[in-house]
């Protein structure tokens, strides 16, 4: 049976907001990082779906998705590196511990 494009988009949207929500609520830096990954992948899903359903026969969306994945991988790498750095400094990666700079 044919799954309507809206469903996919809904999945994407749900992922996005799940990510956003996670980012708001999670106190652990790694958890927030995972949430951001959710958001990025939501966008990637959109690209793939749009390409597949609305503009079949072209590859722009797919390529965009691929690049998006690659870039998010790079970002994650850097992010984790920095978190290690944070951990080395404060022995902890709770978001509350990186709130010295304020005001």
């Amino acid at each position: 049976m044919e799954v309507h494009v809206i469903c996919y988009l809904l999945v994407g949207a749900v992922m996005l907001f799940a990510g956003v929500y996670g980012f708001f609520t999670r106190r652990n830096l790694l958890a927030t990082l995972i949430s951001v990954e959710l958001m990025l992948n939501a966008a990637n899903i959109n690209f793939a779906v749009f390409n597949r359903y609305l503009f079949p026969g072209m590859l722009e969306g797919h390529f965009f998705a691929l690049f998006g994945i690659a870039i998010s991988a790079a970002e994650t790498a850097v992010a984790i590196a920095i978190m290690i750095n944070v951990y080395r400094n404060v022995r902890n990666i709770q978001t509350d511990d990186i709130s010295d700079l304020k005001g």
Binding site: G61, I82, N89
Partner: protein, 480 residues
């Protein structure tokens, strides 16, 4: 065919030359002794950048890779402005990099910074949102590393974490917005999108998400909250770079895209930009009044400056673009000068960045104080310094498009901004230090810093009084 391809490739000379510099620096870094002082290394980098500044310029517009990459004289001028700014930053970073605990990492600093610059170049001359996005990320990811450079300083790490996380957040949303745009248009070529826009709610949402993502890079309120913390936490040189180069690049890129990709949704984005600009200027000014730490203070000042910069995008005209680029150039020299002074004092006093430490600075370091004063006056828009002209032009551009109220509110804000710039001047000239003598001893800054300051002062004084620069920008902007 082949031949023409080659020449086509060569017309990437801005990016290519930058890559060359990057590679050379990388290799040289591998070859040199890691714990050596590395003065000659720094000199070499600066020389290479000095050459690179002139390699950016191109006389004619070129489009490559089937329109993925578009290079125009205007963007090339902006690129060389950015390279020049980077050079100034490098000059002032010498002292910091020469320190025992950082000298073995200076190669990385240069490489990472240059790669962000490369990313900005691509972002500026992209003809497709994919290229744009790649450029954007290339510009931001290494930035996070540089921000976290002083890895044994807690604040540096915190700043890095905040930067990378929030920038990932914003880029995710931007990416989502792009996906929506793609979904509604079916293509992401700058050349094709305008024909397919019809201003549907989805596109409006996409537009907002896009502007938000760029607003994050330029740190417009309310997407600015990372700015102050990161500026304060990052090494001062990096802060200087962040505050001028990436901001400027993002601003021009945003202006270009809005003007040429979203012409049909002009009402939408002008309104959005107008609101963002006024809010940014006002909120940032109000916050800046309260800051006692110079780096944090400059963070808010730069936020409000970003608010002024986007007025050029608001106009969405050739004059707007020109005055924007001009504003950025002027802003670069002034801001870099301020940061140079800040970092010099920081380096010589073991990390003093509080405004109260500047009391009576004029007694001990008249030269530095004078440079600082000129730079601050230029930022505050006081004639005969360049800042006055740039403000006037950008206001004129926005005014011409009928944004009287916005311009007026921005003008009222100049009073507040003048107030807090004068607070610094007051600290340096008027206020008496607590124990009668200034905590900053008379000092002699490094040659690189001095050269940087000289260049900045020259720019502050000359850019305004000599009209050629602006007229050139105007000409190229018309040619866009």
């Amino acid at each position: 065919m082949n031949n023409s391809n080659l020449s086509a490739i060569l017309s990437l000379h801005a990016e290519l030359s930058l890559v060359v510099v990057l590679v050379v620096v990388l290799l040289a870094d591998l070859l040199r002794k890691p714990d050596a002082g590395g003065r000659w290394f720094r000199v070499m980098v600066c020389l290479l950048m000095g050459v690179q500044v002139f390699l950016d310029l191109t006389p004619d517009a070129r489009s490559l890779f089937g329109g993925m990459y578009v290079n125009t004289p205007f963007t090339s001028v902006v690129k060389s402005i950015l390279s020049a700014g980077t050079l100034l930053v490098f000059l002032q970073c010498g002292e910091w990099l020469g320190r025992r605990d950082t000298r073995f990492r200076q190669g990385e600093f240069y490489v990472l910074t240059l790669s962000t610059l490369l990313g900005m170049f691509f972002m500026l001359s992209s003809g497709h949102f994919l290229m744009f996005y790649i450029g954007l990320e290339t510009a931001s990811i290494p930035m996070a590393c540089v921000v976290a450079m002083d890895k044994y300083r807690h604040h540096s790490a915190e700043a890095g974490a905040k930067f990378i996380l929030s920038s990932m957040f914003s880029s995710a949303l931007l990416l989502y917005g792009l996906s929506l745009l793609y979904g509604t248009c079916g293509t992401l070529y700058f050349a094709d999108v305008p024909g397919l826009l019809q201003g549907s709610p989805l596109q409006q949402l996409a537009l907002v998400l896009f502007i938000a993502g760029m607003g994050f890079k330029m740190s417009l309120v309310p997407f600015h909250l990372w700015t102050a913390d990161v500026y304060q936490g990052a090494p001062t040189g990096v802060t200087a770079y962040l505050s001028v180069i990436s901001k400027g690049a993002a601003a021009v890129a945003l202006a270009v895209v809005l003007r040429f990709v979203f012409p049909l949704m002009k009402d939408d984005w002008t309104l959005t930009i107008a609101v963002l600009s006024v809010v940014s200027i006002t909120v940032a000014n109000l916050m800046a009044i309260l800051q006692g730490d110079m780096k944090r203070f400059m963070a808010f000042s730069s936020i409000s400056q970003a608010g002024y910069i986007v007025l050029g995008a608001l106009a969405g005209t050739a004059q707007g673009m020109a005055s924007m680029a001009y504003y950025i150039a002027v802003y670069v020299v002034a801001n870099v000068a301020v940061f140079a002074v800040i970092s010099t004092i920081e380096q010589h006093t073991g990390g003093l960045t509080s405004r109260d430490d500047y009391r009576g600075l004029y007694r001990t370091n008249p030269r530095l104080t004078l440079v600082m004063t000129l730079a601050l006056f230029s930022l505050g828009g006081i004639p005969p310094f360049a800042g006055f002209f740039s403000k006037f032009f950008i206001f004129a551009a926005a005014f011409e498009e009928g944004w009287w109220v916005v311009v007026f509110l921005a003008l009222l804000n100049t009073i507040i901004s003048l107030y807090y710039y004068l607070l610094v001047v007051k600290a340096m000239y008027i206020s008496e230090p607590e124990d009668g003598r200034c905590v900053v001893a008379p000092m002699r800054s490094a040659p690189g810093v001095r050269l940087c300051l000289v260049l900045c002062v020259a720019g502050i004084c000359a850019l305004g009084l000599c009209s050629g620069f602006y007229e050139g920008l105007e000409y190229w902007a018309e040619a866009l």
